[in-house]
């Protein structure tokens, strides 16, 4: 633990930055919840008419469920981070611990999800390249 920062009072500027971070995190959480809502509608639609020819190729109920499983934890963590920062702004200095703990969980989730998606993207890219090279 940093001895220089331990127990230090936060400057006014930093408090304002935290308030701004809380606002933007809330915006992102709303966006993620709305996207999750659309995915839920899509999953419900797929369940209602699974063999509709108008659906794009490769669309499955599984892709909607995976999307939901990714989005909901992010939305919840951002919402929690923002809420804890609001509690801090409301005069509870200890809520800062909760905010930063949720932020750490957010980074952990993001790092894992990002790594998986990059591996998947590279795998797809390799497949596309091999498919695109004309066979002699």
């Amino acid at each position: 633990v940093s001895p220089a920062e331990n127990g230090a009072e936060l400057p006014v500027e930093s408090v304002a930055h935290l308030a701004s971070a809380a606002r933007w995190a809330r915006v992102l959480a709303w966006f993620a919840f709305i996207c999750a809502g659309f995915l839920l509608l899509g999953a419900a639609g797929m369940a209602a008419m699974p063999s509709d020819p108008k659906l794009p190729q490769g669309t499955s109920i599984g892709s909607f469920v995976i999307g939901l499983l990714i989005l909901i934890p992010f939305a919840a963590l951002l919402w929690g981070y923002s809420g804890a920062l609001r509690a801090f702004a409301g005069g509870r200095p200890a809520a800062l611990v909760t905010a930063f703990r949720r932020l750490r969980t957010y980074w952990v989730t993001l790092a894992i999800a990002y790594a998986i998606s990059v591996v998947f993207a590279v795998w797809t890219m390799i497949g596309t390249v091999f498919h695109a090279i004309p066979s002699k």
């Binding site: 220089a4 611990v97 909760t98 790092a111």
Partner: protein
């Protein structure tokens, strides 16, 4: 130290250990930030790797296709994606450096970390808010094109 029987109970979630020097930033809060540094470093590495593979993918796409103008829209989209990735890479890198400074106990590092958090979330928020109208526009144009194509088809 005497125990006050009228003191309200502590919540397990929002109340932390008090800091050493009174009512300032709790030591636990700083520890949480410092412990997040390895994960932010991992994000930096993954973003860097993603950037390299995207550049390679773009070069391969240009080399494989007979004409570079074959799919201009896709290439422009990839270029925009690259610019955004580079921007986020610098943000994550700077944030990680501030976290390392905080771990070393440098003064002013906490304020820099907090500013980095705000910058990251604000950038993501602005990006999301600017993407929403573009997506709506794309859906409207797509629907209009689809309707026109249906009208032309026999």
């Amino acid at each position: 130290m005497a125990i006050n029987p009228f003191e309200p109970p502590r919540t397990t979630d929002l109340d932390a250990e008090p800091s050493v020097e009174g009512s300032g930033v709790p030591a636990e809060a700083v520890r949480e930030l410092v412990e997040s540094a390895p994960w932010v470093r991992m994000i930096v590495w993954v973003t860097g790797f993603s950037l390299v593979t995207s550049v390679l993918g773009l070069l391969i796409a240009l080399a494989v296709r007979s004409s570079p103008t074959h799919n201009v829209g896709g290439i422009v989209a990839q270029l925009i994606g690259l610019v955004i990735t580079v921007f986020f890479l610098t943000l994550y890198l700077t944030y990680h450096q501030h976290l390392l400074r905080l771990g070393r106990g440098e003064s002013g590092a906490l304020a820099a970390v907090i500013q980095g958090q705000r910058r990251l979330f604000k950038t993501m928020g602005v990006l999301v808010l600017s993407v929403i109208p573009l997506v709506i526009l794309a859906v409207i144009i797509g629907a209009a094109v689809g309707r026109a194509a249906k009208g032309v088809a026999p």
